[in-house]
């Protein structure tokens, strides 16, 4: 069950940090500062952050950065990281070409080439 969050309660001002330029999501080139700023724009969940900035929406689908993003968001909100639910992982596990995914069975592998 989702935790009750009143989005109007202030989490304080955005304070710039020296490492805000650090790239956190490599696939989509999203920086720490952008993630921190998104929290101040009202994006309080991992999914909202992802839809707002595209973190974890690139080729690796967040397999590299999602833990880092979660840590940054949690710190900005002042909550323990384990209180934040992760975004939904979806198939496929690895990127797959359309002509491969189009096959229903191994027998069909050449059908869509």
């Amino acid at each position: 069950m989702a935790k009750i969050i009143d989005r109007s309660i202030s989490i304080g001002e955005f304070i710039p940090q020296p490492d805000d330029d650090l790239i956190i999501c490599r696939c989509e080139e999203v920086t720490k500062g952008e993630i921190r700023r998104a929290v101040h724009d009202g994006m309080y969940t991992m999914t909202e952050i992802r839809r707002y900035l595209r973190t974890g929406m690139g080729l690796c689908q967040g397999q590299t950065c999602s833990k880092l993003v979660k840590g940054i968001v949690a710190k900005e909100l002042g909550v323990p990281a384990d209180q934040l639910e992760g975004g939904t992982s979806r198939a496929p596990v690895r990127p797959v070409e359309m002509k491969i995914l189009a096959n229903e069975s191994e027998k069909e592998v050449s059908k869509h080439e």
Partner: protein
Amino acid sequence: MNSSAEVLIIGGGVIGCATAYYLAKKGIEVIVLEKNQIGEGGSSRNGGGVRQSGRDPRELPLAMYAVEHLWPILSEELGMDVEYYKKGNLRLAKTPAHIKILEGLTSRAQAVGLKVQMIDGEEVRKINPHLSDEVIGASWCPTDGHANPMLTTLAYYKNARKAGARFITGEKVLELKKVKGRIRKVITDHSEYEAETVILAAGFESRKIANTIGIDIPMQRVLLEALVTEAQPKMFEQMLGTAEADFYGHQSTHGSFVFGGSSGMDAYTSDYDRPVTTSFTASCICRGIMKYFPELAEAKIVRTWSGWIDECADKVPVIDKVEEVPGLIVACGFTGHGFGICPAVGTVLSELAMGEQPSIDISGLKYGRFKAKI
């Protein structure tokens, strides 16, 4: 903590967020209650179409108003790029039977004043040279387009919040209650809220909530599935659909393609807590796409996703004041095409909530319109 407001909106989707924005902008005190998180349902799980063509005449006034007056200025108004493209919609045909379907749709839309026309295969490939020779014609509506549903929802949310609307997430609405013959109380699993006006915009779950106050809207949830490719070089800017409804979609600003589609078994999924993709659909969508765009065969799918459509019995939404419950306004049953009209819906809902006459014709969207077949 003050738990009352002039207007309380149930549902933090794009309809709720847009309405909250237009109300807060006019200085109205608004609370939005959301069960999960912002844009959780169909708001972020749709194909992003901003279409007028292919729509039922009853909701066409909303679509045409939005395309003419609201979408073109939305990014500027909300201070955020919502990735709106007004580059037209092609609805593609591969067989004479498809052409016939499209001719029917086109003449109905022309009759209510929409500029949409039938074009042949050659003209289609002039507009989109990537389409295969299998395409023999299409309906073409040059003022249609697409936008990014996730950014649009969040942009409305961000600006509504900035304008003073109070959003509370994690509050599941269980019941509506009248006091002295008017809507007054909204009971959640944790507490109780009060408002003079309540707008119910909770997707397919609106039905259950409306039932607690004796109102029923015939709708059900249907699974919607889509896939996303890795970023591709820019190919085209139109919104696409097909007469066969085997897929629809567009290329996003990011470069990835978002293509939705159906396997034909969408209505028969198991009842899960959250929408789960099936093994049939993504493969089926791929087979559909490759017939139209052979060059996309090499494109990699990085993600598939699914969501619930709140499908209304007659496939158009209910947007109306409820006579039996003064103060209650219902906006649900968008049937998978609510995103394109969201700015117009937010506008009329804010007008209804303020007791004004709606500036756009919604007379065909009344909740009392449902009749048995005999």
